[in-house]
């Protein structure tokens, strides 16, 4: 069959200087990316950052303005979507309403000229545990069921690459969590490279081996979830993944693997490896959960900041969240797990903050503190 994708086209996915320009809007800006074969890869970013456009270009549903797409040694850039060994799970599933579930799943196989579809279709329906729905129509299924069929319809074709375009967006929280686990399981079972596009940082961190954080058509940072979370290289990444406290500081001196920083009058130490800035003026970042909160006078270890006043306390079940105003009039956010470790505090109490130096990260002083914050937070 003319449109049978060659099974030999497997390997790493490589995007090379990939650019997409719409009329007056640059959606994807000179993107270079390698996605290793067999990994679960996430493209994470806010809406409009170019992640969906990138995905569509990989699928062949959008033509790049310039740049190349390689799968292994094969150049896919000019290949039509129906000739690529790539399948997509669409955001709203795009199940064919006029076909049964069985025929939906068999669609790709039939178009490739495969005569005996029963066995592979039944196998993949068993994998998603929906074999009993094979004769129904998509409108008769719940959202979660439709989602699993959309996945089944894609993976039955054993593509080299499976693309997922925010597939869990339409599901409620509990179902979403369940599907995250299931998708991860399917990926390890089947071994196909998954490329998952999402704006939900928790989702990306839960499911992916590697995340590329995108912003305004470019990749801000690429790495494992832990890597990106603990060691963000830009304010955008620091704010987009979890939350951060940023305090302005100045680099004073370096001594071997340690650096000494003047943080609003207090001297703190950070590992040189955690400082990604080359300037003297720094933005020092500490995640809220890394802080420890103490009564004034208690013994502390690691770095210390004194003179804080508690301005707000929120009990959130698992943790207690504190807002603490520091002498330089900045409010810091602290999360303490409710395991009995933190003292019993009230609003207005004076406190001291401490944290372990290796949890600090430092960025360029002129980074935009609000970058990566969503909507109301950015005010």
């Amino acid at each position: 069959m003319a449109n049978h994708p060659d099974a030999a086209k497997t390997g790493d996915l490589k995007l090379s200087s990939l650019t997409k320009r719409f009329a007056d809007f640059l959606a994807v800006d000179d993107l270079d990316l390698v996605i290793p074969k067999g990994s679960f890869f996430a493209l994470l970013g806010p809406s409009g950052c170019g992640k969906t456009t990138t995905l569509r270009m990989i699928a062949g549903l959008e033509e790049p303005t310039s740049g190349k797409i390689y799968l292994g040694d094969t150049d896919l850039t000019d290949t039509k979507s129906y000739r690529r060994p790539v399948n997509t799970v669409f955001q709203n599933y795009a199940l064919f309403p006029h076909l049964t579930i069985f025929e939906n799943v068999a669609f790709g196989l039939r178009r490739r000229g495969i005569k005996d579809v029963k066995e592979p279709v039944e196998k993949v329906l068993a994998l998603v545990e929906l074999a009993h729905l094979r004769d129904r129509k998509p409108t008769q299924l719940s959202g979660g069921q439709q989602q699993r069929i959309a996945v089944a319809r894609a993976i039955v074709n054993r593509p080299a690459l499976l693309l997922l375009d925010e597939p869990l967006g339409a599901l409620d929280l509990k179902l979403r969590r369940q599907m995250q686990i299931e998708l991860k399981w399917i990926q390890t079972e089947v071994g196909i490279t998954f490329v998952h596009v999402t704006h939900d940082q928790e989702e990306a961190m839960t499911m992916a081996d590697t995340i590329a954080v995108m912003n305004e058509g470019r990749i801000e940072q690429l790495g494992s979830p832990a890597d990106l979370y603990e060691n963000p290289k830009t304010a955008f990444v620091a704010n987009f993944l979890g939350q951060s406290n940023f305090i302005k500081g100045t680099l004073e001196s370096t001594s071997g693997a340690d650096q000494f920083v003047n943080l609003q009058g207090t001297r703190i130490v950070i590992p040189a490896a955690r400082n990604s800035s080359t300037h003297k003026s720094l933005l020092v970042g500490i995640r809220p959960e890394k802080f420890r909160i103490h009564n004034v006078g208690d013994t502390t270890t690691g770095n210390k900041l004194e003179g804080g006043i508690v301005t707000d306390i929120s009990f959130v079940g698992v943790s207690t969240q504190y807002q603490v105003e520091m002498p330089w009039k900045q409010e810091l956010m602290i999360f303490e797990q409710n395991d009995g470790g933190a003292p019993n505090l009230r609003k207005g109490d004076a406190v001291t903050l401490s944290w372990e130096p290796h949890f600090t990260f430092a960025l360029d002083g002129d980074e935009d503190v609000t970058s990566g914050l969503s909507g109301a937070d950015a005010e």
Partner: protein, 266 residues
């Protein structure tokens, strides 16, 4: 009591409006049972004989036959041509879109008398005598616009992601069209065809100008209205009404039953 009245005033009005809509239909049906002679103006007695002999009046069945033949041909051509245009407008970008839209809109905005008269004048100028095929040509002409509008609306409601999904699943452009687009647009095309047939069958003004000596059912009624429309015409009119009503209602029941079946989820 007044509360009930004010809440249901509009429903009562609607009922009256429906009665008003059906008065001439009821009258036509009633007089199809009239034991009349040729004139059928005054009630003379109840009889089935008109229904048993619907072709009894001269010319009436020839006219009906012509109307059906013309209707079928006009529907066939206008549906094909109109659907093609609808797809071009709904799925492709091209230069001249607004001109095309205007060209489709104009016949619907032109009075039938102008459409009919101008076409007749052109035929006469070319030395073509009006007859069966000139009527078909005229009907196709005015039906195309309605087909385009109907099918275009259906295409617009089609999720483009479905066609993308098909291409993602190895379907070529032709396979996508055949296996996904066409089945989903089909109801719109069917509706357009039905619309075209009813417009063609019931057309009088344009037909009157362009059919020459060929008789159609509306023409027959018009001509015989001077002398008195024979009861057989009433029979045919009523029969058409009942058949069409039966088709539409059974289609409704069918799709409602289908919807009810689909509602059962597990």
């Amino acid at each position: 009591m007044t509360r009930w009245l004010s809440k249901n005033l509009i429903r009562i009005y609607a009922a009256l409006a429906f009665i008003y809509l059906f008065i001439p239909v009821a009258y036509t049906m009633a007089f199809s049972f009239n034991d009349s002679g040729k004139r059928n103006l005054i009630w003379q007695g109840f009889t089935f004989k008109n229904w048993l002999n619907p072709c009894g009046a001269p010319e009436v069945c020839t006219a009906l036959g012509n109307s059906i033949k013309i209707g079928f041909l006009a529907t066939l051509f206008s549906t094909i041509l109109g659907t093609m245009i609808a797809f071009a407008l709904g799925r492709y970008s091209f230069r001249g879109r607004s001109t095309t839209n205007l060209l489709i809109f104009l016949p619907m905005a032109t009075p039938e008398i102008v459409l009919g008269a101008s076409l007749l004048a052109m035929f006469l100028n070319l030395g073509i005598n009006p007859g069966f095929w000139t009527t078909v040509i005229a009907h196709v002409m005015f039906c195309i616009s309605f087909v385009v509008v109907t099918v275009k609306a259906r295409i617009a409601s089609l999720d483009p992601k479905l066609e993308e999904a098909a291409r993602d699943l190895y379907a070529t452009e032709w396979q996508t069209f055949r296996r996904v687009t066409l089945p989903l647009v089909a109801p719109g095309i069917a509706a357009a065809a039905l619309l075209a047939f009813s417009l063609s069958f019931d057309d009088f003004i344009i037909t009157n100008f362009n059919s020459g000596t060929v008789n159609t059912f509306p023409k027959f009624v018009w001509v015989s209205s001077a002398r008195g429309v024979p009861a057989q015409a009433n029979v045919i009119g009523s029969a058409m009404f009942l058949i069409a009503l039966a088709i539409v209602i059974s289609a409704q029941i069918f799709s409602a039953a289908k919807a009810r079946r689909l509602q059962k989820k597990h």
